[in-house]
């Protein structure tokens, strides 16, 4: 069982990350939880989700919240170029805070249902993600399409990281 503490974040306050976090942690239940469980290769991964609002980019609260993050989920809106451009700032901020520690991350393009209004192409986003060592996926929270994907990707990456670290502990013992 892994306990993960991802930070869901996006600068623009309308990309849909709260919608994603809610959808994912509530399983249709009416009460709000701050965590959820994902299974990868029989290992259960527990997510504690911190939803950082766009305006928090410069707030001091964020530093506290972002102490020792385990994984990163960067959400942007495919119909909003600014939200995509701002991902770089979020990533930079996180990496500056976690020097020397690898933080697995996923870039998520949301609102793929708004086909006619799309301005950020998948190829462009995917290439940017790859260049920065992030996984990539797209979803539509509104249509409940692919919204589990980011969590499965992160759970898998984090579990892989754990296995590698255990190998290191073995070799040091």
């Amino acid at each position: 069982s892994c306990q993960v503490c991802p930070k869901c974040c996006a600068r623009d306050p309308t990309v849909g990350k709260s919608a994603l976090a809610q959808m994912f942690r509530n399983d249709g239940a009416h009460f709000q939880k701050n965590y959820t469980l994902v299974s990868v290769q029989q290992a259960q991964t527990e997510f504690f989700i911190f939803d950082s609002a766009g305006k928090d980019l410069f707030s001091e609260m964020l530093e506290k919240l972002w102490e020792q993050p385990n994984v990163l989920c960067l959400v942007y809106d495919v119909t909003n170029e600014q939200s995509f451009n701002n991902c770089a700032k979020w990533l930079e901020k996180l990496r500056a805070q976690a020097v020397g520690v690898h933080i697995p991350g996923v870039l998520v393009g949301n609102k793929t249902d708004l086909i006619g209004r799309r301005v950020v192409e998948q190829k462009q986003a995917q290439e940017w993600a790859e260049k920065h060592g992030l996984e990539y996926c797209e979803m539509s929270v509104k249509e409940m399409k692919n919204f589990e994907a980011p969590f499965h990707i992160l759970a898998k990456s984090f579990h892989q990281l754990y296995k590698e670290k255990v190998e290191t502990f073995h070799s040091l013992a």
Partner: protein, 141 residues
């Protein structure tokens, strides 16, 4: 009375709680007397485990062998049950992770029926604890 290591299952020590439980690397591994076996944390800090002794013992030395632990705090309880803990050792930074050096040179003196090891932060997402030791004598009651 000769001092012995009370953090050994062979001396009657028992793990009563651990916040991470990878069954391949259980917390019992810190008390089996071997440095080859270890307990792993699997996520967010703080992480902790509690060791119970068969009776109240007087501790004069505490040591931990671990990797990637950044800050650690140790608490003790003299209760019959694992409650009412109070801090007995705090070290802001652990420098020599490869050594069994934590507080090893300090001469301590306190009673305990339980010791609680709280890993407040790590240098990585995961840390390992291979062995803990608490040297002391049984209290004459």
């Amino acid at each position: 009375m000769r001092a012995i290591d009370w953090c050994r299952s062979s001396a009657g020590a028992a793990l009563v709680l651990a916040t991470s439980s990878d069954e391949q690397h259980p917390a019992e591994n810190v008390a089996d007397g071997s440095s080859e076996t270890f307990w792993t944390t699997t996520g967010m800090f703080p992480q902790e485990f509690i060791i119970g002794f068969p009776k109240c013992v007087k501790i004069s030395k505490v040591a931990i062998q671990c990797y990637l632990v950044r800050t650690l705090r140790i608490e003790r309880s003299v209760s019959k049950d694992p409650v009412g803990f109070q801090q007995c050792i705090e070290k802001g930074k652990i420098l020599n992770l490869n050594q069994q050096g934590f507080c090893g040179n300090n001469v301590l003196s306190f009673s305990a029926t339980y010791l609680r090891f709280i890993i407040k932060s790590g240098f990585d997402h995961f840390v390992s604890v291979h062995r803990v030791m608490a040297e002391g004598t049984a209290e004459n009651t």
